[in-house]
């Protein structure tokens, strides 16, 4: 058998990668209340090869659960930059999308995708555990098709993201 082409190697890597996703266990907001039900016996996300993990370096998914405060945003960016490629970000709930009910709050940012690249949003407040699992399944499909390229976008547009971060974090 000949050696694999680069294309084939990528396909195999993506196929394997999507089957074992580790999610960093960082409860950034109130959406974290729906994660324990998703993890534990009733919905049991480990059926899909997903597991919570404690350190950024070993994790693949950063789940931004709910509103992002300025103080938390700084930590989210640190955590995101500590994670190794490939890495994926899921915005959870309506607050990372457009601020949600905190549209007039002075301490909550209104759009997460200006500061870190977001691969996928889950709408709703609160999204049900089924929605969370659907999002993970969608992310798996996106990885399979090579569409989940947030980390590449972050490198490509680093100046844009850094400028936005500087503007809001000071």
């Amino acid at each position: 058998m000949d050696r694999l082409t680069e294309e084939q190697a990528k396909t195999i890597a993506n196929m394997l990668r999507k089957r074992s996703l580790w999610m960093i266990h960082y409860c950034t907001g109130c959406g974290a209340i729906e994660l324990p039900p998703t993890m534990t016996s009733r919905y049991d996300m480990s059926r899909f090869g997903l597991a919570p993990f404690v350190t950024p370096r070993q994790s693949d998914i950063l789940l931004v659960t709910g509103y992002v405060n300025i103080k938390t945003l700084r930590r989210i960016i640190t955590v995101y930059e500590q994670m190794l490629d490939p890495k994926y970000v899921i915005g959870f709930g309506s607050c990372p999308i457009n601020g949600g009910v905190y549209w007039d709050s002075y301490s909550v940012i209104k759009r997460l995708d200006r500061y870190i690249p977001v691969d996928l949003y889950i709408a709703g407040c609160m999204p049900r555990p089924e929605a969370v699992i659907t999002a993970f399944r969608t992310l798996m499909d996106m990885i399979d098709q090579g569409k989940a390229d947030g980390y590449k976008r972050y490198k490509r547009n680093l100046a844009y993201y850094k400028e936005n971060q500087r503007k809001v974090l000071g």
């Binding site: 300025i70 103080k71 700084r74 999308i97 457009n98 601020g99 549209w103 007039d104 709050s105 002075y106 301490s107 940012i109 209104k110 759009r111 995708d113 200006r114 976008r153 547009n157 844009y160 936005n164 503007k167 809001v168 974090l169 000071g170």
Partner: protein
Amino acid sequence: MMDLVDRIKEIEGVKVTVQRHNRVFVDVDKDKVIDTLYYMKHVLGITQLSFMNVVDRIDEGKFEIFYVLYERESKVNVIVRIWIDRDNPVIETADKIYPPAHNWEREIAEMFGVKVLGNEDAGKPFILENWKDMPPMRKDFDSVKYCNEHYVFRHSEEENE
């Protein structure tokens, strides 16, 4: 309960209002608040400070500071209120009398810009980080305007890059 109210009324210079639901509002002069709180704790035996915070009375040019106390025997909430000057807001710390006051004072110092004498932590960053504007809970701080200046809203289906 009336017994306690009568004993509070004996304190010099207080104005007592009894509200339904076992709430007693006690208005005192701002210079006498520490003495009053000391008296409440050590003479009347009101040991619990539940809560302490500020109401910004911008029309009168004052800050109203309230201390919610709880008396365990007669099950009454005693709410001590003082009014201080809004332009020069200074209070004295109550953390020698009620330890939780220490951290409520840190919060009001940050959120309202009230200066707390005798509390070395008040004025240090507590909840906010790198805050450069005026204390945000003041009435003249416009949070909608602040958001429009500092954050970008999502308006339509625009591309993010």
